[in-house]
Symmetry: C2
Subunit: 385 residues, 2 copies
Amino acid sequence: MKTHQELLKKLRLLKEEAGSHSPSIITIKEGVPELEVKVDACFLSNPYATELFLDYFKRELIDTGGIKDLLEFYPSQNKVIAESLSGVIGIHPDNIFIGNGAIEIIQTVIQKYTKKKIVINIPTFSSYYEFVNDDVEVIYNKLYKENNFDLNIDEYVELVKHERPDTVVLINPNNPNGGYLSSEKIAHLLRELRDVKNFILDESFIHFAFENEYYDLKTASNLVYKFPNLILIKSMSKDFGIAGIRAGYAVMNSRRVQELLLNGFLWNSNGLSEYFFRLYTRDNFLSEYEAVRVKYIKETQEFIKELNQIPNIKVYPSMANFALVEILNGDTSDDFVFNMLIKYGIYLRTCSDKIGINGEFVRLASRTKSENKYIIESFTKELSK
Amino acid sequence: MKTHQELLKKLRLLKEEAGSHSPSIITIKEGVPELEVKVDACFLSNPYATELFLDYFKRELIDTGGIKDLLEFYPSQNKVIAESLSGVIGIHPDNIFIGNGAIEIIQTVIQKYTKKKIVINIPTFSSYYEFVNDDVEVIYNKLYKENNFDLNIDEYVELVKHERPDTVVLINPNNPNGGYLSSEKIAHLLRELRDVKNFILDESFIHFAFENEYYDLKTASNLVYKFPNLILIKSMSKDFGIAGIRAGYAVMNSRRVQELLLNGFLWNSNGLSEYFFRLYTRDNFLSEYEAVRVKYIKETQEFIKELNQIPNIKVYPSMANFALVEILNGDTSDDFVFNMLIKYGIYLRTCSDKIGINGEFVRLASRTKSENKYIIESFTKELSK
């Protein structure tokens, strides 16, 4: 039996090796097999949607033997999958680019279109500034904890007009805090910033946000027709809980889609991501998905409310499927994360590697109802001391 | 019941839409559901290896429920998979780059490293010249049917030294004819052309080539230590019959691997390709694979020998898992392909869209023994008239 200190040492080493991302749960399990990971609260996904997808997967691909064709044959080309996705997202196929995960699209648009200067709000998802070419100037627009990490729209517009970047990036809801800009505010920003060549809007967490009591899904994707500078990026890993499949898409100006497809991205989807995209267009799957989406949002909001009752932490407002939590018990965020992993088997995301965040912060994903309950109990136990 | 002419019209339309690649079998089945496709001889893969992979897949992922983790969680990052692959291919992990299929690597190296001029043998796999940036000069080195599409080494070296390109591309065995350059010749070319910045060697079909009676696998990958300009690209879709999974790798100078990983390719593998790469390193899988590799090579060479007996075609020598066949019965290659599909359900690859090939050519894949038998019988029936 390893001591707490020995486990800590091993975990610190794994974290160091992973750089600005967290070591995956597999890496943790392989590197520190003594640990029992009970809840992966680092992992941002709707677990009910994973179950739903797995039901279809089992019924339609495993039980029928159809999986063989998906593994053996070449998937369809990019524009064929774009055509099938077109109806369900209400966007013309010429404006859709299919990615091997959203991360491929982030890499591509940042490297291809950002030539001069980029304005990025921080804290944020690090790939947006890590993927820029060496000669691009990065302007960080800091969001302050004193303002709940909210974006001040007027100051932001002023900053962008002053800096004149070729690219701005907004993540809505933002990662890692979950701050949400209403669709009205996004439209306002697009109007104000129509001179910025690339307006990147990452809606990877938009399925968890809502503006009315019916939890209706809001997206800015159809603004692409009005604002040709809009590059909307959407991961499917979070809302559908299928990160291993690698599925994402972008909605953008048709000229850009054409330009990208002219010299590449021929078979960048795999057989399973093609299956997923086609499943996503089907009515029965969609209505079942809508039910688990709303169920998960309700549970997530309830979870955040309960977190708010726990002493020695501060929970920031979120419209995503996670909450940014400030640790006020004197621990560093890394030590708090390792401690919760060793003592309770709960794996959290430390924010110590994120730039633009002062203080000790962790990001905490909402999981299943029973897992959330276990998290609340463990946090309460640990933090009420 | 559609007439032959109506089916022909539909097929011609699908071919037009697919550009310089063939419409996939799924596109054909969806577009012309009246057709019964019995043998997909367009598809270049070892069907026995597909079966072997599916055995493991079913036993280890489906029966155990392990598939859930692969679909749900993020796969490992590029360098983690490179480390696991290192042992089996005998290359240091720093020299390995993992791709979302070989096609992603082709796109990346051609767009990133080819700045000026590229020398490409034709006929060849079209992506190599289609993916170049607009301002790159493409020099086509024509291979002649009169010479069995063999590369004349001395003339080639002379051409390259005269043209002074920054990139040369060799596919070994070559696609679409299967012509093979011995490992000795490849080493000679690398010595002669060490001043060319990027020496791209595509070994996607190398598992089907052999130089001795034991069918020992030959690869030039370890020459990367001696020739830092070597960029060796390897698809896993052909030898393992798993095109839907999207798995490929490159072996190159560690500086290049590092450069690529510095700004991207973070999660470009999916859960299944990671599973495949890890499986590929295991002794039991490897020895079973070696058996089906040799079995398939023997059957393929036997198939090519039998094709040679059929009148009104000419079969070119091949060390790959396909043969380039010249149609000498007066049909155009497109019409021959459509005809064989409508009358016999055999789907062939027309070469009408390939540049650098004069005459009517089709590419014919070796499939299972019984499928090959059916192809021989159908060809004999059709061409003996």
